[in-house]
Symmetry: C2
Subunit: 567 residues, 2 copies
């Protein structure tokens, strides 16, 4: 397998690192090498001549009047759909200058989006140039880029990470920053830009598209739906890329921990999973592995639960399981859980306020500034969590929820409550909690076959949309339950996904995060089975992602259920 790279020019020597990424291509693992030449099927519409047809005019996800004001050039754009046929505007003799940027946190498959854009240009717009902006949107503003070539891209095919051109979290927001982006577009004579990112980055992409259009720049902007969190989706964008792989990696680990729990018979494993705003990852992992207890943030919020409610819910299950002779279990917790608990939100808001304006004295006099309920809650929390709530602030003065070890907090609260029940004679066992956080190890895994193929199609779609002169759309690939050949390819107006939020007295456009819907098929399926999982042990161990063989092409439950399959 080690020869796969040696045939490919500069990357084969492995003697000096690539100046941009520091990557030595020759030091690939066997699996990495085996993935390089994994062939990617394309939807049939992308294999032949196609034309782009427009759907009906679009509106917005909310407040269409405000969105129309914010996007005077772009509001109301129809969706675009690729269909077989010949097209005058898609001239193959036209060479394009396109930029691509990775924005925000990593998600498996990003490299394949870039490969898809590149291969589209190679096959349909000969002589085109693809610029990879380095380090995220800052690369656009500073005009830091690399010209992507087949040799440059090849070693990243089907590989995890964003290290081909790296990513960043900067935003193009201020008039000066928009000006910098314009200058880069002019300097490179850009025909288009592909922004691979989450909800914020795609909102930004649309603002950039609007800006370029209003200034009569020729550069168009197309977004691509990226986030392992799975909260950027709509009717036409059935899933964000990376979710499939990340969930499978977490589910592999959860399944292993489950088998461990059952083999040992004495630990409760509290597993916190990445995914801050929405609980899709936790829900999907539950559907894949059947844990005893799963907390879904959206449900906690809908039921207005308190931290005590959540603790009691866990403790009740532990006590019932003890009666059945099970003194072990696995509990899934979404990273953003405490963000969903109204009383905790209130406490955090008060703490943010106090910390921004007061000196926090060691004696604790500052606590008098808390409301009674918030003080009670604060005093209920384990000291380590109190400390985390007091110390960890982001540059905006907010608590960094991701750094709060919710799983450890819950273990301590459960311990205390079980001690209480023991005294009341309602529990006799010895509780041992074991905490886990699965996060970073999922963001940069090697993309599953689904993410590899889906991303490649998203990239092709982005290329086709730019080629046909579209702007302000998000690449959308649909009909995903069907074989790849039958997948649909097109673009959805970014403005149609938007609503406004009022910030500092101004309306700001935002793509609404797609939260777990409590009446959606994935949650309903979970809700119909969780009682059974709680008391009986229905653990499933998904095992490591397989890239070949009959199990390699399986897709996540959330997508299938949302598409109405095996519901």
């Amino acid at each position: 397998m080690a020869t796969a790279l040696v045939a490919n020019g500069d990357f084969s020597s492995g003697k000096s690192p690539d100046p941009v990424t520091g990557r030595f291509a020759a030091v690939y693992s066997e699996v990495q090498n085996s993935r390089l030449d994994h062939s990617l099927p394309l939807p049939s519409v992308l294999q032949k001549p196609f034309k782009v047809v427009a759907g009906p005019p679009s509106s917005a996800a909310g407040n269409p009047d405000e969105i129309a004001k914010l996007f005077p050039c772009l509001f109301g754009q129809p969706s675009a759909m690729l269909v077989p046929g010949d097209s005058a505007e898609l001239s193959s003799s036209q060479s394009l200058k396109i930029g691509v940027v990775l924005s925000g946190g990593q998600a498996p498959g990003g490299h394949n989006v870039i490969s898809g854009v590149f291969d589209y240009l190679q096959s349909r717009c000969k002589g085109s140039t693809l610029y990879g902006f380095r380090g995220g949107p800052a690369g656009i503003m500073k005009c830091k880029y690399v010209v992507l070539t087949p040799e440059y891209i090849y070693p990243y095919r089907n590989q995890g990470g964003f290290d081909m051109i790296c990513s960043g979290r900067d935003k193009i927001e201020t008039p000066e920053q928009f000006k910098q982006a314009e200058e880069t577009a002019k300097k490179l004579d850009l025909d288009g830009l592909v922004v691979i990112g989450g909800d914020d980055s795609n909102t930004n992409a649309c603002l950039l598209a609007e800006n370029f259009r209003s200034k009569n720049l020729k550069a168009r902007v197309i977004g691509c739906p990226k986030t392992i969190d799975g909260d950027l989706k709509s009717k036409e964008v059935p899933i964000s890329f990376g979710f499939d792989t990340a969930c499978k990696i977490y589910a592999e680990m959860i399944g292993n921990v489950m088998i461990d729990a059952r083999s040992t018979g004495k630990y409760y494993h509290f597993v916190r999973l990445m995914g801050r705003a929405a609980s899709h990852i936790t829900l999907e992992c539950a559907l894949q592995t059947h844990p005893n207890i799963t907390l879904i943030g959206e449900e906690v919020a809908a039921k207005q639960q308190t931290l005590k409610n959540v603790t009691d819910y866990i403790v009740d299950a532990i006590c019932k399981r003890a009666e059945l002779g099970y003194n072990y279990g696995v509990i899934l917790i979404p990273e953003g859980l405490i963000d969903f608990i109204p009383e905790v939100q209130q406490l955090i808001a008060e703490l943010n306020e106090i910390l921004a304006h007061e000196v926090v004295d060691e004696g604790g006099a500052w606590k008098k500034k808390l409301k009674v309920e918030s003080l009670q809650l604060f005093e209920l929390l384990p000291p380590a969590i109190q400390e985390q709530l007091m110390l960890e602030r982001d540059p905006h003065g907010n608590v960094q929820v991701a750094k709060i070890e919710t799983e450890k907090m819950l273990i301590q609260m459960v311990e205390t409550e079980l001690e209480h029940r023991k005294q009341m004679g309602a529990y006799k066992d010895q509780f041992k909690g074991q905490s886990h956080f699965f996060g970073y190890e999922g963001r940069c895994g090697m993309p599953s076959n689904f993410d590899s193929t889906y991303c490649y199609a998203l990239g092709f779609a982005a290329g086709a949309l730019l080629h046909s002169g579209k702007t302000g759309l998000i690449s959308s690939v649909g009909n995903l339950a069907a074989p790849v050949e039958e997948w649909t390819v097109g673009g959805t107006a970014l403005t149609s996904l938007m609503d406004v939020e009022r910030r500092h007295g101004k309306f700001k456009p935002v793509i609404k995060k797609a939260m777990v819907e409590l009446d959606g098929a994935p949650f309903k399926k979970f809700a119909s089975m969780r009682e059974e999982w709680a008391l009986n042990n229905r653990y499933i161990s998904p095992g490591p992602i397989q890239f070949i063989g009959p199990v390699a092409d399986k897709v996540n439950h959330t997508l299938l259920l949302e598409l109405g399959i095996h519901a």
Copy 2:
């Protein structure tokens, strides 16, 4: 794939759990199902008639005179080796009653050892009975067992975990406990017992063998080398099972984190890895992934390093990397690190003493009992670690090293030292540490093809050794660098692996843990490359374990290097 189980009797219904394990066989993942019928090749010597030949008499790893006194019946036994040929003593008409027990922590492949013993008996000793003792050695003492049948065993083939019969950490130590074991052996009319465990459990197995022999019981005892830690090995036992799989699972996660580190460019990931006594896992993971910094406990101990030395070593590398423009990296830390640091051992010993005898006052007057150097070290530690050192005690009054979050301690100490260097102008970047602990998720993973095959052969070997009347041996399968057909099969005298330790004025036999040897091939290879890895980024991402295809049969580096392959 879901049909694989349906053909197999009781386990197929999935409607009611197995009473022992609570397992519903029907809720298997696709990968679990696909593994059930994975065929296991056998060494050719096990495929045909064989006889057992004896090697020269054995001695002990140390203090042979004391070992001879402790094992008067067994000391000096030769190794046994299976060779092709006919054998009078291996009558196929003989039916045996054999017990099997899983002892201690989980390791991938344990189920396959049991499958191997079972299949040996089925094919060579028709009409035999295999008893699975439940919950570890306690199952022997309490005579808690299940009669293993093909239907019972089938769903566990090539599956991770020890949940077929579960495990436990009890030991058969006191005269009463030995008596209980004897009673079970008599009650079940046992011809033999297979003990699947680590160094302690195999020491116990040998004591049990000696005991049975001295009481003229017919039951023989054969051990099997199990531990993910990789520290139970010798010339004839090249590797303990589970090490291969666990390292591959950790290496998958480390590889993912590396790609994440490079993509983001702003975090130092401190990864603590399971493996308390020896650093084999950390060393193997380093060889698989090429981290920037790797701490090997045995080297730290050999160099008599202090915590300050270790911190400086990390900080020096971070500063050098900063000069090269790299403000990120990955650092591997063995779980048992602080156990290897002489000054920390001293501090912990003093703390154990103080906590056992004194009241620890809040004012800190108790600290005066510490020696000056220990007090200095204690004051140097981050408060959270001070707390962990004070609070977490096992039933014997010792610090539970596994619960000390060494990775977080090092992050804080590195932070402090970098702050210092910043003030001196020797460092300019912004350091951000991210901590990880990879442990439980590796112990119960699905066994790799190597562990699956190796364990099956170990089980077959244990069956053959019992069949030929051997006792006090550990199942040994060798020539592992060759194709499976050429693997050698035999048994090694457990007494030959032993030395004595003096405890409470008495000699106790112990199998010496195989530590990382600083002049061994794995460490030397690592040492020859680590400078390169520290400064240049030579990260390798091994990806998820593959079960089919050309990369599925690859074996860990440690084993190959120790066997003299690709050194």
